[in-house]
Amino acid sequence: MKDLLASKTKIAGLILAFLVLLVMPPFYTSYWVTLFTQMLIFAILAMSLDILLGYTGLSSFGHAGFFGSAAYVVAILSTRYKMGFLICFVSGIALNIVISTIFGLLVAHASGVYFLIITLALGMVLWGLAFRWVSMTGGDNGISGIARPDIGLPIALKDPLTFYYVILVFFLISLILMAIFVRSPFGHSLKGVRESESRMQVLGYHTWFHKYLSYVATAAFAGLAGALWAYFNGFTSPYDLDLTASIEIILMVILGGPGTLIGPALGAGIIVFLKNFISAYTQRWLLILGTIYILTILYAPQGLMNLIKDFLKGGQKETKAGERS
């Protein structure tokens, strides 16, 4: 009976998502189309962090750094060197892979809180580069004037709705790729690392290498989101990669439910919506974000998606606050 309920809810959720994301957008106002575009981009970003935070159990505090560096690569290449879409896009992701293979050497041996501290410092290094390397990044002013790209198809990306559907395609591809990634044997080994690293080592796994690869993979996906963001926003600034940005991404994952790809995507949607919605009425966004944070940890530490799951399973699984997050 419970299973039936669960599968029914799942199907209902899928149909709802299908309607909201695919069928309905032509009927939305352009404000909502833009908002949904933003949600999808951050959903990719939140899901990429979830591979680290939810599946591998490593909380990265520098994730916005990857998001932002890819955005800067796109910004610099497209405005200064007038490069085409493909080159910008691929170099954004490629640079992230390069950075993360270097950073990964420093962070992959660490775990738990220590991982967090090192990633925070590394994230700030990237922020510092964006902020201080004025000749390259424009410093505090950022880089503006990134035009919507010509992707070689006979469609005009200036139109918000067309751009939305392009982002939706990227979102679905990323979702499928990441779902394959976490369901693969390699993905299961990451969960093993999350549950008990020493046990995985006893079983003969090179846990260091597993963490390293998952770090690089998440950086690549964060780069994808960052590159799309640069094209969407037309503007990059150091605020794209500061600590507050990293914190927002973590909240998306924690709020949505770490360890479920859909959860963080949902969390991203909620946070992006709240941010836009609240900003229209008050400037106290950070105050509200901080309060949501504290309330989430106090009352829903395992995230909304896991709350829903537990509810459907009849609340038989009591998870302790610290285990999932």
Binding site: A110, I117, W127, F131, M136, I247, W285, I297, S325
Partner: protein, 309 residues
């Protein structure tokens, strides 16, 4: 936007154009070294609390940079009303110390020894504090007035250097020595070290570990708030100071080793020097220069210079 980085490297004589050779180089080295050490002294006030709190309670306190910033703001308000710098420094420290105690008692205590939820809570508070500070004190940068008797400069080997910065170095050294004596030579310090080494055993032999760690948290917050006021006359206070300094304090903890007082001291001076020379020599890449020593330490000794595994 003028930040403390700009103001900081502006101090001290750099030698005029036209002079050449080793004299300028040695003056440059001396000024930058003194600047670096005085910045390191301020970092120590921030990082020692961060490191000790981590050592005793395994809490990564993201709100620690906010303590520094709030301390400076509270100090500013008190100094403007009472005209007394010393009063301001202690008011800033005490207010933040109480704030830290309330945070620990009211929220962090709910998740004993669970690093991630605790850290997330401090993170939420960091955001709330940042916005509250913006609400109360506005977005304009302020510089705290320097106490009257410490105004002016003094000459060290033909280099003119502000007295106040020497004073800051002295204060931080005094704090470091008292912390060391407290930690190594007093009964409370011994209890503290016991709590750091083995939480459960310390509780088992009858120590009130929650009380000790609560006080430790309050002390760390006090030091950060106090440090904020001390740093006020040098680089002022403005929104964003919190996270900028937090990241540097984390670098100190990574380099020096978690929970080690000696590590915080050495790490602070090291980071202060590297940051300052990086800023003076390659200003555009100044954050990046911090990355190198951190990377080397992490690669060679993952626990930091003085950290225990």
């Amino acid at each position: 936007m003028e930040t403390w980085r700009g103001r900081f490297s502006g101090a001290g004589g750099r030698g005029t154009k036209g002079q050449r050779g080793e004299k300028i180089l040695s003056e440059f080295l001396l000024v930058q070294t003194l600047n670096g050490i005085s910045f390191g002294a301020l970092l120590f006030l921030l990082a020692s609390g961060l490191s000790l709190i981590y050592g005793v309670m395994k809490i990564v306190n993201i709100a620690h940079g906010s303590y520094f910033m709030l301390g400076a703001y509270v100090g500013l308000s008190v100094i403007l009303r009472t005209k007394s710098f010393i009063l301001g420094a202690f008011a800033g420290g005490l207010a933040i110390g109480v704030l830290g105690l309330v945070m620990e008692r009211g929220f962090l205590r709910k998740f004993p020894l669970q690093p991630l939820p605790q850290m997330m809570i401090t993170l939420g508070f960091a955001l709330v504090f940042r916005d509250l500070a913006l609400l109360i004190w506005g977005g304009d940068p302020y510089t705290l007035p320097c106490p009257e008797f410490l105004k002016g400069s003094t000459q060290i080997y033909k280099v003119v250097f502000p007295v106040y910065r020497l004073f800051v170095i002295g204060v931080a050294a005094a704090v470091a020595i008292s912390l060391w004596i407290f930690n190594e030579r007093t009964l409370v310090g011994a209890k503290l070290r016991a709590a750091v080494d083995d939480h459960e055993m310390a509780g088992g032999v009858g120590l009130n570990v929650p009380l000790i760690s609560g006080c430790m948290f309050g002390l760390g917050a006090f030091l950060a708030g106090f440090g904020g006021v001390m740093g006020g006359p040098i680089f002022g206070v403005y929104p964003g100071l919190d996270f900028e300094l937090l990241s540097l304090a984390f670098v100190v903890v990574i380099v020096g080793g978690r929970g080690s007082l000696k590590g915080s001291a050495v790490g602070s001076i090291l980071v202060g020097l590297v940051d300052n020379f990086g800023k003076a020599l390659v200003p555009e890449l100044s954050y990046f220069t911090l990355f190198a020593p951190m990377a080397i330490v992490v690669a060679i000794k993952p626990t930091g210079l003085f950290g225990r595994a």
